[in-house]
Symmetry: C2
Subunit: 223 residues, 2 copies
DNA sequence: GCCGAATTTATACGATCGTATAATTAGGGG
DNA sequence: CCCCTAATTATACGATCGTATAAATTCGGC
């Protein structure tokens, strides 16, 4: 397939006029390169995120990458970290918009976790690409563990508050197990829905997730 | 990093004696190449599964691959299909060893789904590599959907049988939703345990899964 | 025991990749 | 307004990748 890909000349056509450019601050350029990297990985897989493609997407020449990142591996790791923290922060922001009632808060969080924009094939592809390297890459594993625990701990807090508001015991051992299971449930639903959007298009995923959580906690979350 | 990798000469040192070889049947050689491909992807990611590396692992020269597979993409797709059906068949074989009592069967299936050898970082890496291409590759998506539904339908049958044996209603709509949620729960636990083996080493995952399933079905599965 | 078809090896090619380095340009401080 | 530093482009290099094709070897059928 390699030889059949469209030939893209790396040389400029005529000769002289150098490409004009504007200077940008370090943070801005790094962010643009990270965005370009994530977009490419999401759209066409990690193998499509070549130095040249990333530079082109960021509207920059390839050499500049080396000016901001020592190596391509370095850029990939930084991009992954940005993705993870971005998702976590998005979840945190959503949490702030939820009501005060603990049960409604938990229900809202659960429903949001299996609804757009979280259930997005692009995000799933990025996540899968990252997971694939987690067993082999120490930095990736650390980043994954941190974000996984951040999400799970938040879920555990919501579960504990909901149980207490219903006058139910909420000892740490039990709520931790429930958070692990609940997190796994949301992960699995998210993954499958993103992987097979057509198959899940006629399924009310938030309702299904809320029903399952209600059974898991023996606490009615559906309205 | 590329320039620092150990230089591996592709030429033979002296000159003359051609490498001797033994002929093998088509099925045997294809299986060897598929195994080599899966091993490499699991160990070092898809980018390590080059034609040359696959051939070396299968103790064969690179050219032979083209004799059995039209293209590398073809080999990858066939290897992925072999992986998926292999996992499904392994699960089916395990199912046959379970007892006759429907509740015990369900419990055994659930516990086995989050125990070795299913929870294996190698398998997870392979699965993640496959998932990553599912949104973009039609053949991959079809293969994934088939194996996903095969597993889920089996789980739904087990759930329905267990519910009925307890004198509980088991209409298709309910059991299907329970199977979707249960499948997601098992998927999520499997993934996280494989991704963070150290973090889950002190957690009794089968017990946690059985507890969660018991709550989900309101049916005691633990012994 | 040899002959022929199929398997397997050997070699080569063009493309692309990541990286290195030098040349140039932009834009702010004096 | 000019210069000086840093940002950016341009070009080149070696390595490796997937693929193509020809030569050689194996081994079962006669």
């Amino acid at each position: 397939m390699q030889t059949l890909e469209p030939r893209v000349s790396e040389q400029r056509s005529g000769s002289l006029p150098r490409r004009s450019f504007q200077r940008a601050g370090e943070g801005e350029r790094r962010a643009a390169l990270i965005n370009a990297t994530l977009e490419l990985i999401a759209e066409a897989g990690p193998e499509a995120a070549t130095v040249r493609a990333i530079a082109a997407r960021a509207d920059v020449t390839p050499g500049l990458i080396r000016h901001y990142f020592a190596t391509k591996e370095d850029l990939i790791a930084v991009a992954h970290e940005a993705l993870m923290t971005g998702l976590t922060e998005a979840a945190a922001a959503r949490l702030d918009q939820l009501p005060d009632d603990p049960i409604a808060r938990l229900a809202g969080f659960v429903a949001a976790s299996v609804s757009p924009p979280v259930t997005d094939p692009r995000a799933m592809a990025l996540w899968a690409a990252a997971m694939q390297t987690v067993p082999r890459d120490k930095a990736m594993r650390a980043a994954h563990e941190a974000t996984y625990l951040a999400f799970r701990d938040r879920l555990q807090d919501l579960i504990a508050a909901a149980l207490r508001s219903a006058g139910r015991p909420a000892d740490p051992r039990t709520t931790r197990a429930l958070a692990i299971a609940g997190n796994a449930l949301l992960d699995g639903l998210w993954i499958e829905a993103a992987a097979l959007p057509d198959h899940f298009s006629d399924i009310d995923l938030p309702r299904l997730a809320l029903s399952a959580f209600s059974r898991l906690l023996d606490l009615p979350l559906e309205d």
